[in-house]
Symmetry: C4
Subunit: 237 residues, 4 copies
């Protein structure tokens, strides 16, 4: 049995979870996870039907994108994933979808402001949309540059990649990430719900204001960091 | 067997009903019920997956929030529920969700006016949005204050808590209640549908006017109070 | 066995079809069918859960609303149905729902104009919204008057009740009808889809114009009347 | 067994796939496929319930619309399909639906601009809406003219029918096509999703601009033509 077996099974499940959550139709979207000890990433194969996808179809590559295990082409977005793994050592899983509301926001070229606690529970501050890629960046090394434009945005704006585990690539679609691939999937689910609520908030009140910063702080930090008290952290089950 | 067994089973079912009704994703939302004779409240545990939740995971507390039965942390929103039970002796069940349309309305900071009979059948008058909590109220005793800001709104505006069994906490999300936990769940379902209809009403006609008061009266009172004639109240089955 | 057995079975199925089609939640909505030879109407009981509703719960009344068979109260909207049956001898089934988009249009006080062939295939011309009921009409004989205000609208505007088998009661919700109860259910399904398309049409183009009259004529009359050629009418199967 | 058996089975499955994908309700919509060697087209029968539709109900006609096999009337839209097959030798399957968002865009009389990569992956450039049919074109040979107005639009605007496998007939609804009937179904699914994203993009930003042409080129050509590298084309599985 492959030493990457468990990694591949996790990645297969995470990809199928995206379909179950209604975030992916046809072959759109891909999830990957990194094993930093082994120096490998497992990712969805390109253009394969989710129904037929089996664990042996998951592709394992090194951090330069060379296939180590698997007979199929990896997702065409592999190099975007690798750019994120290299820039951000904290992250263990990456997800890319074309989920409807988040993609519409990316197409609109609009950040998703924090209008309430649903957003603040997971994302600290606005979820950013990147600048457009240049013609040169699109024509050469497009997928790599799609990852790098996210990295650039977070570095230039001093954003904490774990406190805002999502970004929208302008005119394209969202990426999310997390400590592992299942957390990245969860963040995709939350991003889509938050994007939908944002559209509706603006329909109820086109001049809606972001939630007060102290309320954003409260919700984010009751779930994250040293003083978190949400969930079952302090109790053995 | 625990003397709270039936109470816990009801609360478990009510929490799972929220997921079935599409009002709750992930671990968002919580339902509780009070037994005023025994002086206890049963509530969902914090951050536990709905799929895995079992009756023994339901937490029983006293009215000060001290755990009486159960090994898990109660919902982090417990103190909001308790504030409502203490202020309003008529209510027997409380539900909190982040259902999409109602939450968007809370984020927009807008009351939900009564545009028609769907609303008037359950809610007498506009469904109110509370004031924002202050920085002090958020930083200290946040969950308690989230309940108290609802109580304040109803008292200051002389609203009848049973005639309008829902409120939106500004920049946060809705709470509903009822004579028992299942009625509170039903009111959450109706609130979400009414919030959706409100968004669509405004899309069809941004200058839409509330329904005439006499129509609101007719629909509310044909289902509630001494002269109600909807349903099977007068017939033995 | 009751001589109304088949009628009651049809009405039971039609009511459950409304739930399956997503037009009805909780106990909202009701379907009825008339047997003009027997001079009776079968209708849903009031306020009974659709899951538990059995054929013996369906209520049979005469045209004055007196219960002939059944132990439960008939739908509180019975008198609206009877007003339609009495005024329009062509109709055999009536359905009332609070389906989301059609109800929103009723709340907005807006007719649904014919923007395209989806509408014209079933509804000839705009689907009308009635005037508001007066205070007197609401306070006395409300359900009867809810039917009569539809009748008034069709008579005053010389509308053909079979060519436009739907109306919206202002600030309330839609009624549909048809030659039998299943056709009335189908018309409710189509009404809701057309109302949704109307909302979206106006979102794409707030100045959208109705479809040309000759296109409306073509689509309506290829499915209705002596020259219809849609479907399998000319072929024995 | 009929020599058209496989063709008919494919067409039956494609029609049922439209229902599964949520693009078709009641009997709305139809899919066909051509066998150019045999000179025949198989198409859905007119007005038959999808649940009851069996392979022997599929109708086989020649390119003039004369029934060769089958006891039922072919879809009333048959002549629209045939006009497309005759004008465009590249296409092997045609689908017509009244899917909600695409139909709303047709009713609004609005092209669907390319706002992002989801669109560009399948459709090169805006998805066009045709001119309105004239009174004469509607009253005589309506279904034929519905096909011809699409052909006219593509010829007059020098559009490549395989690079933009969809069109909206003004005040009516969409047609899509592809190398075979399943590709035509897939294009209907993508069209509906793109139309929905377009509505939402405009809600987030009413002044949204189309994606840069170089980004549209990149996405379209990484999936189509000689230099495509998406999917598993270069790998034997």
């Amino acid at each position: 049995m492959s030493k990457y077996q468990e990694l591949k099974e996790r990645v297969l499940k995470a990809n199928k979870d995206l379909v179950k959550a209604g975030l992916v139709i046809l072959t759109w979207g891909n999830a990957s996870e990194i094993d930093r000890n082994l120096g490998v990433v497992a990712i969805k194969p390109s253009g394969v039907s989710y129904d037929e996808m089996k664990v042996e179809d998951v592709v394992v590559t090194d951090l330069e994108g060379r296939v180590i295990e698997g007979k199929l082409n990896p997702s065409s977005d592999l190099l975007s994933h690798l750019a994120l793994y290299k820039a951000f050592p904290e992250i263990g899983g990456v997800v890319h979808t074309h989920s409807t509301y988040a993609t519409a926001s990316a197409q609109a070229g609009k950040d998703i402001p924090c209008y309430g606690t649903t957003h603040a529970d997971t994302f600290y501050g606005a979820i950013p949309v990147t600048r457009a890629l240049t013609k040169e960046e699109v024509e050469k090394d497009y997928e790599l540059n799609s990852g790098l434009v996210i990295v650039e945005h977070f570095k230039n704006n001093n954003l904490d990649v774990m406190a805002c585990p999502a970004a929208l690539i302008r005119n394209h679609a969202p990426f999310t990430w997390g400590k592992d691939v299942f957390k990245a999937v969860e963040n995709s689910i939350i991003l889509e719900e938050v994007a939908k609520m944002t559209a509706l908030t603006l329909r109820f009140n086109k001049d809606a204001e972001p939630a007060p910063q102290y309320l954003q702080d409260k919700h984010y930090f009751r779930k994250h960091g040293a003083n978190a008290y949400y969930g079952q952290k302090k109790i053995n089950r």
